[in-house]
Structures are given as C-alpha cells and as structure tokens.
C-alpha cells in the first residue's frame, strides 16, 4: 500500500472529469430531453385528493415501472397525490394497505396476487369508507374483497390467445417457460396455452438469474429436438430465450408474453413471432382515473365486472407502431 497523497487525489479530481468530457460517445447514451411527452398539460380543478397504489411488485421491475408511469400520468391529470408502495411479500403488502388507511387516503388501488392475505386489511378499508379498485392480479376475487372494479388482463384468456395463434400456425410441441415457480398468474398462462395446444410442455427456470435461464433453456432445447416453439412469459425472459435458441442451434420459433422496447424491436426484426400484451400502463392509468371518477361524481366504472386491459396481440403487422411508444416507456 502506498501512502495516501492529497496532491495525487487533487490531480485525479481535476483530470478525470476532463477525460470523461473528451471521452463522450457520439452515439447512444441518454437521449437529450425532448420535453415531457404527455402530461404537463392542464390539470382538472377538482380538489386535491390522495390515492395509494399498492402492488406486489419486486423492487426494480420494468413491468411495474410502466404501471406506475400510467398511474402517475393519471394522477398528474386528475390533481391526485399518488402514494406508490410495493412489497412482494403478502403479509407486508397487507400492512401497506393498513398504512394507507392510517394515512386517510381518498382511494386505494391494489393488486390482489395473494387475496387471502389482503382480505382483512381491505375489509378495514371498506369499513373506513375508502373506495377500492384492484388491478393486474385477482380478477376473480376483486368484488368479493370490496373493490368496485378490476383492471387487468385475464391470464387464462391471454394464454389461450397465444395457444390459438400457435395452433393456427401448426405448432405441436411448444415449451412454456415459467420463470417463477409457484406463481399463480404464470401457471395460468401456460395452462391457457396447453388448453389450445395439448402438446405443450412446461419448463421451470430461475428468473432471478438470467444465466441460469439461458443454460436451462439451452439444455432443454438440445434435449427436445422436436420442440417447435418456445414461449417466454416475460419480455426479458424471451430475449434470453432467443440466445438459448441460437446457442442450442434449435429450429424452434419464439413467442412471448408482455412487452418492452427490445422485444418490440425483435418483433419488428422478425426474430420473435408475436407477443401478448396486457397493457400495464393502462392498468395503472385506469385504476387511478377510476378512483378520481368515483370521487368526482360517485361513478363506478365496469358495472361490477372487471375491465379488461388485454390481451392485445402484437405481431409484425403492428409492432412498428408499438415500438414508438415502447421507446417512451409506456408500452
């Protein structure tokens, strides 16, 4: 170890930024601010209200970031203060609902991935006279738990939509890749595919580790030579599966659920056949907007039924349009 020298440090402090400046990349990087797309316009003149959006999202997930963006845009338009909180663990998500009640919010939008764990605290919210809507997960239990409507895509239907499209293209042996063992929604997607294409096989991978996803999928594709389609249940997973297909030298085509910018690009390029989008931005936006409507005039959208935000199929015919919005991070 050499002795710490202030002079050297000062020199470094002066030189490094200069190097950084001269090392600017001429392509890529953060785009220059092109003004706020959407939002930032007129705000309604209803009184300020406070709405909590409580999800079961893990931290740092792109899908949920899109939901949150939609919710934020609705909040900005509707003069709503949005309190976003999330916890993937059921018990703690239930505590977040309790906290929203403590904060005396004017509305709660909540995902019902684990309805049993949330029902007691939702009962308290209803008792406190706070209107509740649910989004994303929990369509079947939404009204039972006191929500006046639900915004989401039916996972089973989305799975069947994929299954139908694959069956139409003559697929016999698709592999459906589940990235979180024990996730009800993901299981329902694959079950939907299997309902339309009985030869569907399920492969479990560890979605938290992309290298494991790739190696497991590669191994599977090498083992099942007759696999004709491989389906990823999330955009990042599908992108990894593409690599696995080329590593394994397999002839399997790739289909997907959900969307992000890279995936939209791959559909435009033709390396991914299609994806089924549940339009997460719309789930966040509609949930907050519905709570505002409820406050504005006691409106209850949906007529006691769920409002479907999907499935919307994105293939080569419309991918180019979608890509434009995916680049803004709202698709």
């Amino acid at each position: 170890m050499t002795k710490f020298s202030w002079r050297k440090t000062a020199l470094m402090a002066a030189v490094v930024p200069m190097l950084a400046l001269s090392a600017c990349s001429s392509t890529g990087g953060k785009p220059a601010d092109a003004g706020n797309a959407g939002g930032g316009g007129q705000v309604v003149n209803t009184p300020r209200m406070k709405v909590a959006l409580i999800t079961h999202a893990p931290a740092g997930d792109t899908f949920w970031d899109t939901v949150r963006k939609g919710a934020q845009e609705a909040a900005d338009k509707d003069n709503v203060e949005l309190l976003y909180t999330n916890d993937p663990e059921a018990g703690r998500q239930s505590q977040l609902i309790q906290q929203a009640i403590d904060q005396k919010v004017d509305g709660i939008a909540v995902t019902l991935a684990t309805p049993d764990a949330l029902k007691d605290s939702l009962k308290k919210a209803t008792a406190a006279g706070i209107p509740v809507v649910s989004l994303n997960a929990g369509e079947s239990v939404s009204t039972q738990l006191g929500a006046f409507t639900h915004f989401g895509s039916n996972e089973q239907l989305a799975g069947q939509a994929v299954g139908e499209k694959l069956a139409a293209q003559g697929a016999k042996h698709p592999i459906c890749v589940i990235q979180a063992q024990g996730h009800v929604g993901l299981e329902a997607r694959c079950a939907g595919v299997k309902a339309k294409v009985p030869g569907t096989e399920i492969l479990y991978v560890n979605g938290a580790d992309m290298t494991a996803v790739q190696s497991t999928a590669t191994a599977k594709l090498q083992a099942s030579k007759d696999a004709d389609v491989i389906i990823g249940l999330g955009a990042p997973i599908t992108l990894t599966l593409l690599k696995a297909v080329s590593t394994a030298g397999s002839s399997a085509k790739v289909a997907s659920f959900d969307l992000n910018r890279e995936l939209a690009q791959k559909i435009v390029d033709g390396s991914v056949m299609f994806t089924v989008d549940q339009q997460p931005w719309l789930q966040g936006y509609s949930a907050i907007d519905a709570l505002w409507q409820s406050k504005r005039g006691g409106f209850k959208i949906g007529g006691g039924q769920a409002v479907l935000t999907g499935p919307a199929i994105i293939d080569e015919s419309n991918a180019a349009d979608v890509l434009k919005f995916a680049e803004q991070g709202i698709r």
């Binding site: 931290a59 906290q99 403590d102 904060q103 005396k104 049993d116």
Partner: protein, 351 residues
C-alpha cells in the same frame, strides 16, 4: 508479569469488582447504540410525518416490528451462542404450511396441525444443531443447506398435497377461530387495535432476557459463544446448549408461522426467502456480535423496532419506496459503528 501470592486482603478494593459509574454501566450494554439509533429515527420520522405518531399508525409500526422481532429474539440468542441460522425465513413458512396442510388433508381439528407444526419447527432446529455439532461444519454451510432444502420442500410438498402453489384455506375448519384468537387477533387499547403479536414479542423478549441474565443457561450461552472449547473445559454442555439454541429459533419460527397462517388463512409456498437476513440484521443492529459471546435479547428487539420504523416510516413520510433498502443499509452501518464506538469508550475509560 509476576504473580505475588497475597495472603492479606489489599487495602484498596480490586478494581475488577469495584462499583462502576451507573451511566458507564448503561453505556456498556450491548443495545445502547441501537437505542440511540431508535430514538433518533423516531424523532426524525415524527418530525417529517404527522401520521407517524398517531396511535393507529404507531400500532401498525409496532405490528410490523413484531413480525421481525419475534424471530429476532431467537436469532439474537443464537448469535450470542456463536452461530447463525439462514433457514429461519423459509422455516417460518414450512411451519405454517405443515399446520395448514396436515389439518386440511386429514380434515382434523386445526390445533392438531398447530401442535404438529411445533414439533416440526423445533425438529428442524434440532436437526440443524445436531448436524452442526456432529460435522463441526460452520453453521453458515449447514443452515444454507437446510434453507435450500426447506425452500424446495415447501414448493414441492404444497403442490403434491394441495395441488397448487398456496396452501388451501382452512378458515372454515374446527379450532380455527380459537387458534386465530391466540395467534392473530388484536386487542383494543384506548381505541387502538394492537395486534397480539406485539404482546407475544414483548413476552418472548422478557423471557429471553431473564434466561440470558439470570440463569445458568444464560451463562452457558455466553460461554459457548465466547469460546466453545474453553466453555467445554469448564464443564459447560456445549452440544446441548447449541442444539437448544437452534430449537429455540425453531420455536420462534413456529410462533411467527402460526401468525402468518391465521392472519391470512392460506400460505404462499414460495415466501419467506430473504427474511432470514432481516432477523440477522435486527440482531446485529441491536448489538449482537457476528462472532458470538456478546449481545442481548432487548437489543434484537430494538433492532427489529428500528427496522419496523424505517420500513413503515418511509411510507408514512410518503417517500419513494425505492430508497428503503438504501436507508436500511445506512441504518445498519450507523448502528453498528455507534455500537463499536460506545462499547470501546465504555470499556477503555475507568470509572
């Protein structure tokens, strides 16, 4: 050093047995750093959020703390005993799954499942301890293995027995109401609903503190954590003490598991992963040393309380939850540094 045999009593009392200044005695306690941290954090959140100090909100904070704190009691004792347990997070879920699926599958009174879960939980602790003592492997490795095995068993057995990824609901079965009343109901104190787990937590901390400070077993725990070989040499039953500590952790896991089950009727089989670190964090913030031989049960409780305040306080302060983990890490670092400084000061200066 020369030893001079002194037959006569020295005129001045030996400084080792002299009375210490009470303030310094207080500063020498393991949980002081955490206590200071807790007070600072409380004042901080009370000043940035009006909701935080309302009785209802505070009951929520206490409840959140208790779900970490109950386990932190066992984990603190274990850490004082020089070991730690990575399987605690999933063991809680294993316990809840055992109780619910056993009673559901055999259509039995829920209490039968609850008792079986106690046996299983304490059994997991026993196995952890037994393998540890038998193989002399580090507890990190042994409990990492049980952590992985339990994670797999939770998922695998739940699907095999219940046919899904969460245990079937048991809310309509015999004994459910009485079990729920014990493990997951709330008591109204001056109009504020305080969850039972808070009282269970306080009771556990009291019992653990009494054992640590007032009983022979408490001395054994400090001894095996300080130096197991020296402890064995003076006749401390090292093996029994360590296995017993793991079983105590299992017992705490059972209580929390039963709370999870009866609060939510059904249990998600994939949950619990990662929670083991929260318990360890609580114990470490509370002044338990990773190397063992030092710490307190009250410290672990304060650590859990700090965790609860940070976790809930960020929501009440209406901050972006993205920052929570950073905040928690900072708390951990500051609390342990304060601990270190306070301890050095108290130990070095003479009173």
């Amino acid at each position: 050093m020369t030893m001079t045999p002194t037959m006569t009593k020295p005129a001045v009392a030996d400084e080792r047995v002299a009375k210490r200044n009470p303030l310094q005695k207080l500063l020498g306690r393991p949980e002081v750093g955490a206590l200071v941290g807790a007070i600072v954090l409380f004042v901080f959140f009370a000043s940035v959020s009006q909701t935080f100090i309302q009785p209802n909100a505070f009951a929520t904070v206490l409840y959140g703390s208790s779900t970490i704190g109950i386990m932190a009691v066992g984990v603190s004792l274990l850490m004082i005993g020089g070991e730690f347990d990575l399987s605690t997070g999933v063991a809680v879920i294993s316990s809840a799954l055992t109780a619910s699926m056993f009673s559901w599958y055999f259509s039995m009174n829920v209490w039968v499942g609850v008792i079986l879960a106690l046996v299983v939980s304490v059994g997991i602790g026993y196995i952890n301890g037994w393998i540890l003592m038998k193989t002399k492997l580090p507890s990190f490795i042994v409990t990492l293995a049980t952590f992985l095995m339990l994670t797999g068993l939770n998922l695998g057995l739940t699907r095999m027995i219940g046919g899904g990824v969460s245990s079937p609901s048991i809310s309509d079965m015999d004994g459910y109401a009485s079990a729920r009343a014990i493990f997951s109901s709330s008591v109204s104190i001056a109009g504020v609903d305080v969850n039972n787990t808070v009282f269970i937590w306080i009771a556990l901390v009291a019992v653990a503190s009494w054992v640590l400070l007032r009983t022979k077993v408490g001395n054994w725990i400090f001894a095996v954590g300080g130096d197991a070989n020296a402890a064995r040499a003076v006749g401390v039953p090292v093996k029994a003490t360590k296995i017993g500590l793991f079983m105590a952790v299992g017992f705490c896991g059972w209580i929390l598991g039963m709370h999870n089950l009866f609060a939510f009727d059904a249990v998600q089989s994939g949950e619990g992963v990662g929670n083991e670190f929260l318990y360890i964090i609580a114990a470490v913030i509370g002044g338990c040393l990773l190397t063992g031989g030092y710490g307190s049960a009250v410290g672990g409780a304060i650590g859990a309380f700090i965790f609860g305040m940070a976790n809930k306080g960020i929501v009440y302060a209406e901050w972006n939850p993205d920052w929570f983990k950073f905040f928690l890490g900072l708390m951990l670092l500051l609390a342990t540094i304060v601990n270190l400084i306070v301890k050095r000061r108290a130990d070095s200066s003479k009173g």
